[in-house]
């Protein structure tokens, strides 16, 4: 049975070995300004790797972490505590980091990054508490073993804890992002932006300039310049940007200290400054991220609301034929129950078939819209579109005594999805036919006209119905605004969406007669040639 604490597959072994190598390398790189030749340094970023991987893989990291800690003592510091004690102390450290990592693993369900103020607070609380207790316990052990002089316990513990916390706070976010798939993608995306290069370079240059005395006359007086890149990154790219800049600041500070740029200021203070800057950045960054998520959520819920409106409108349109169908069906039941096999029964069944057809018509219309949701733009003559749609209404107009007039000169060419624009026009004409039904039989007329107006095509559908009030004109485009039992609920909402998708607009003009207008952009000669 494979132990959960031991790597199972060869790939896992390779991973564990790579981890140990990386850990020891980072330990070596950050082993400077040590206290009593122990691993008490002001910068200790290596636990960040351990914590991130523990966060990701849980207890399986215990053995590799212990190995890495012991190897670092052996390779980098040649075991100042002697072999036995070194192994014991490494085990103690592995336990401390492990407990902290386990807590992070529990709180941040694996693969989830800090994405809210609450989680940022949890992360900081766990890191500060875990590493604080761990550092105090470790230095306490060193002190008990006589490796730390009796009077130096407090200063040594403080130095160790600060080194750990600063190292983790400034390094962990970037490592974390690299480990989590979603945030790695976001990191790559951010790295592709010129602004990223801008604030990263600015951060490095400012650290260099400030510590070399190029900025200002007195050294370190102008540390506040360093707020610039961190706020820039946080405001533009949230936590991702801040993580990058925090790492850059850390690397720059180390470089400056390593190559002798900064004298006269204790390394520990520089480190605390870097950590404070990073924390400011994290707080701004997490708020920026939260706001971005809120905006995204809002957009999503608007989309859902639109879908909901669509569904409600569809349900309403289907309800009428359904109501008729069920009543006809019930009527048939009664006719059959009383043994009435009259022509009425056959006639009623015929009506049921017709109503079923009407219901499927509604479904087909919606499907037509959704299928043509992606637009297929093609050149089309406005007069052609108007003529073909009006032809579908000649019967209805004749039956109701409506005079239908068309005023559309040929040659007004559009680049549109013909099917969709026909749908819009059909909706408007159907509404107009319904509207003139209210007028007296002698006064029923409709006019469809098209004209060019400032590089745009304006189509107007006018009817002799009683028109809409100013208040109604605005409300019409919300589903169910009208009192009509069919048609208008879905039609105008969809029509406006279609016209707007074509870069135009659709509106109702208030007045004593019905008047709906829509405008569509007309292509220039160049457009037509380009798409020919």
């Amino acid at each position: 049975m494979p132990s959960p604490l031991l790597p199972a597959r060869p790939a896992d072994w390779l991973f564990a070995i790579l981890f140990v190598v990386a850990y020891v390398t980072l330990d070596w790189a950050s082993f400077m300004d040590p206290l009593f030749a122990l691993n008490i340094t002001p910068w200790n970023p290596d636990p960040a790797i351990g914590l991130v991987l523990w966060l990701r893989f849980g207890r399986r990291m215990a053995l590799p972490l212990f190995t890495a800690l012991a190897a670092a003592e052996i390779v980098v510091r040649q075991m100042p505590a002697g072999p036995g004690l070194t192994l014991l102390l490494s085990a103690q450290l592995a336990l401390g980091y492990g407990l902290t990592g386990e807590l992070l693993h529990r709180v941040f369900a694996r693969a989830t990054l800090v994405n809210s103020r609450e989680r940022l607070f949890y992360w900081l609380a766990i890191v500060f508490t875990g590493l604080g207790l761990n550092g105090a316990a470790y230095v306490g052990s060193l002190w008990l073993a006589g490796l730390v002089p009796p009077g130096a316990f407090v200063s040594a513990a403080a130095r160790f804890v600060i080194g750990d916390i600063v190292g983790v706070v400034m390094t962990m976010p970037l490592l974390w992002m690299l480990v989590v798939t979603g945030s790695r993608a976001r990191l790559m995306q951010v790295l592709g932006s010129w602004e990223t290069a801008g604030y990263v370079l600015l951060a490095a240059a400012l650290v260099w300039g400030v510590f070399q005395g190029h900025i200002g006359t007195e050294q370190y007086k102008h540390l506040y310049f360093l707020f610039l890149p961190i706020v820039w990154a946080a405001a533009r790219h949230g936590l991702t940007g801040t993580g990058l800049v925090a790492f850059t600041l850390q690397a720059s500070i180390i470089a400056v200290v390593r190559w002798g740029g900064a004298d006269g200021i204790p390394f520990v203070e520089l480190q605390l400054l870097g950590a404070a800057l990073s924390l400011v950045g994290f707080f701004i960054g997490v708020i920026v991220d939260e706001q971005r998520q809120a905006t995204e959520g809002l957009r999503q819920s608007l989309r859902l609301a639109a879908a909901g409106e669509m569904a409600a409108a569809l349900a309403h349109e289907l309800n009428q034929p359904m109501a008729a169908l069920s009543a006809y069906g019930k009527a048939c039941e009664h006719l059959i129950a009383r043994g009435d096999n009259s022509p009425l029964l056959a006639e009623t069944i015929g009506k049921m078939v017709r109503e079923a057809g009407r219901a499927s018509q509604v479904v087909r219309r919606v499907r037509e819209f959704f299928r043509t949701g992606a637009m297929h733009l093609e050149p089309a003559d406005a007069a052609d579109i108007i003529a073909s749609v009006c032809a579908q209404f000649t019967d209805a107009c004749r039956a109701q005594g409506i005079a239908l007039a068309i005023a559309a000169p040929a040659g007004l060419v559009l680049r549109v999805d013909r099917l969709q624009i026909e749908l819009v026009l059909r909706n408007l004409l159907a509404n107009a036919v319904d509207a003139v039904g209210d007028a007296a039989p002698g006064a029923r007329s409709m006019t469809v006209s098209a004209r060019e107006h400032g590089g745009r095509l304006e189509v107007a559908v006018q009817d002799s119905g009683k028109g809409v009030s100013r208040a109604m004109a605005g409300r019409l485009f919300q589903p169910f605004a009208s009192g009509k039992s069919s048609g208008l609920g879905l039609g105008l909402v969809l029509s406006r969406q279609i016209v707007e998708a074509h870069g135009g607009s659709l509106w109702a003009e208030a007045g004593s007669q019905g008047l709906f207008k829509f405008v569509l952009p007309m292509p220039t000669e160049a457009d037509m040639v380009a798409h020919a």
């Binding site: 409600a312 349900a315 309403h316 309800n319 009428q320 034929p321 359904m322 109501a323 008729a324 169908l325 069920s326 009543a327 006809y328 019930k330 009527a331 009664h334 006719l335 009425l344 009623t348 009506k351 017709r354 109503e355 009407r358 319904d434 039904g437 209210d438 009208s482 009192g483 009509k484 039992s485 069919s486």
Partner: protein, 203 residues
């Protein structure tokens, strides 16, 4: 038994109107169909009895507006509202305007028939009340002013002796007036007299 009562249906959807008309016709109701509120209002006569089924969503005057309008013109037909969407707000409005019932489309025909029968029962109570009210209003003018005074006091619950004191006449005379007015109004006891008085003048 429903011979004198009619179901008036106002729905703008031709198929729904036709289907409900057919169904209720088969179930033995006398039907009158209207395509919109205006048509119904133009045809309405005060003597119409039965109930009215109104679709809420109609062009022009919608169902709730028609309901309000009917109240305003004194049409007492019980109103059953039919709606395509079970909208709580609409139902509340309808009931606040004394709708008899509120049904959802597609309508369950047993529920609909039940609602119509209840509405008819209401209508009959209403009709008999108004018949009695008409009789009462016709009979009261036959009373003399003195008899009217006596009646008001009797209805107010006064005893003969109190009435005699208040009107400054003898108790015997009060009894004579009372007997005569009850005779004229064709009632046998004080309870009926009170009921009739209230019916004639609900204000």
């Amino acid at each position: 038994m429903n011979a004198e009562l009619t179901v008036f249906l106002v729905d703008d959807d031709a198929a729904v109107r036709d289907a409900l008309g057919l169904l209720l016709g088969i179930r033995g109701y006398r039907m009158a169909l209207f395509a919109n509120a205006a048509d119904f209002l133009a045809a309405w006569r005060p003597g119409w009895a039965g109930c009215i089924l109104i679709d809420i969503r109609m062009p022009g005057m919608d169902g709730l507006a028609l309901q309000q309008h009917l109240k305003a013109i004194g049409c007492e037909l019980p109103v059953i509202i039919i709606t395509g969407h079970g909208d709580v707000d609409l139902a509340r409005q309808a009931f606040r305007a004394d709708a008899h019932d509120f049904l959802e489309k597609p309508v369950d025909d047993d529920k609909l028939v039940h609602a119509i029968d209840e509405a008819f029962a209401d209508m009959r109570v209403l009709a008999s009340n108004s018949a009695r009210r008409a009789t009462a209003r016709a009979l009261f003018p036959a009373l003399t002013p003195r008899e009217r005074e006596v009646m008001e006091l009797v209805v107010a619950g006064r005893h003969n002796r109190e009435i005699a004191l208040l009107l400054d006449i003898s108790a015997r005379t009060v009894e004579v007036h009372k007997a005569r007015l009850m005779d004229k109004l064709n009632v046998d006891n004080v309870a009926d007299l009170v009921r009739m008085r209230l019916l004639a003048d609900p204000g």
